[in-house]
Symmetry: C2
Subunit: 252 residues, 2 copies
DNA sequence: CGGTACATTGAGAAATTTCAAAGTTGGTGG
DNA sequence: CCACCAACTTTGAAATTTCTCAATGTACCG
């Protein structure tokens, strides 16, 4: 289920020559051109300035459990994951959805435990970078420091938006907002083709994100389908009435 | 309504001698022994290493409106305030409650606008510190940098907890959690006397915080009173059954 | 070809909102 | 000191949203 990706054993060979290293995942990662890994460790094209500890895990498995020791700054390299809180009574709240290239939490920069868990939605490849190294780079590089400030501010804005959703908006609005949010992220990545984009969340996961029950989530999605707004299922969303969907998802 | 506190005009007099400056609010602020101002600019006893721009404002007035230019890093010196989002349809969501000594948002360190507004709950004295100065100090002082990391992490944990509250918990649980949260903060400050502590939020504000209507909020508070758990009103909370209240507020 | 997880549907129950009216409180000016 | 005003709180009744329970249908995996 959880497989450590074997690092090249002779990163630097006996004669001190650094080989091409096509196998180190970061060296071929195309998210480095846009995400925080690139800002931290150099954009794509450059060899990666630090080695992360890479792993793979199957869909629906936990990458991290709240309260466990945390191995480093966690990045989702490939696949989708969610950050969530599991309550003793069985309920769970999904806090955020992470796409390939996303830092799991810009504020989890310190050794110690986290208050949330992380679960793979699809099969996931992920990576830990050493805390101290990441902190040192941020501290010693003013433009990087500012980039990181922007990232933490963006995460807080996102959390604030979710708070407004859960506190003030109806089931339909919350679900529409989630779909629109993911649509916009996919569009930026060029993954929106023929008004269709990947959406691997199950109805249970949509429910856990929006604070609804799976049954009610199903009814809302059915209504969206019946009204020819969009069709969610089988790992994809098909947009039929983009304008209408955006109107539903927008704050009123 | 909004009054600029006149800074001493001759901070350094003609002979270059710095006078005692008892009037600069930061020099007599007793929160500096514990809050982030102290970490940033020196603990109480020391003269304040930087001058904030201080102001006062009456209860129920806005300190900052979302989208306006932001003057600096905002600290609540005295009184209670809330951070909130106002929706066009009249609904509002309160994101967090700030007590004296609180930084308004650890992630609002950059010039530019914020996505939320800030309103005084009671009469408030507050203060802006220049962005660049604060950033420079954090960047140049490793222990301060770590302290600030802890603060941003704590703010995110708080936002995550609120998300769980709004997404997964009943009206009674949300209200109990708010009361317990404030109770614990007041207790740390030694403001809990005879099982009673200050609580200046109106029912409307409690409703905006918990994502409920004021009418339902009133019914829940009435039930708490009738069941002799606690009595909320007139600017205070009287705790009758602390254990029961904590049980209600705790995650299940 | 089963089995398991996921999705759908129906009916009734519960929590919360809405609307409307009446009571209270605290502050202000006469 | 009193009267009044405005804002806040309380109460009732009905409507709405969302949940719960339970059964059935569907898709994918080995």
């Amino acid at each position: 289920m959880l497989r450590e990706i074997e690092p090249l054993s002779d990163l630097v060979n006996a004669r001190g020559i650094v080989p091409a290293l096509p196998d180190l995942p970061c060296n071929t990662c195309h998210f480095r051109s846009s995400n925080f890994c690139g800002a931290l460790f150099g954009r794509s094209g450059q060899p990666m300035a630090i080695r992360g500890k890479h792993r793979e895990i199957a869909a629906r498995q936990n990458i991290y459990r709240a309260g466990e020791g945390n191995e480093g700054v966690l990045v989702i390299c490939d696949g989708w994951a969610v950050r969530f809180v599991q309550l003793p009574n069985g309920k769970r709240q999904i806090l955020s959805v992470m796409l390939p290239g996303d830092l799991v939490s810009a504020t989890s920069m310190l050794e110690g435990q986290l208050g949330f868990s992380v679960q793979a939605v699809t099969d996931v490849r992920y990576c830990y970078f050493p805390f101290a190294e990441v902190r040192a780079r941020i501290r010693n590089n003013p433009p990087l420091f500012d980039a990181w400030l922007r990232l933490t501010a963006a995460e807080q804005r996102d959390a604030d938006k979710r708070l407004v959703d859960l506190g003030q908006r109806t089931a339909q609005e919350r679900i529409a907002a989630l779909i629109v949010h993911v649509m916009q992220r996919c569009e930026q990545r060029g993954e929106l083709v023929d008004d269709e984009f990947p959406f691997p969340l199950s109805q249970q996961q949509i429910a856990d994100f929006t604070g609804l029950t799976p049954v009610h989530t199903c009814r809302v999605l059915s209504a969206l389908r019946k009204n020819a707004v969009c069709d969610v299922g089988h790992g994809f969303v098909k947009i039929m009435e983009r304008r209408e969907l955006q109107r539903m998802g927008a704050l009123k």
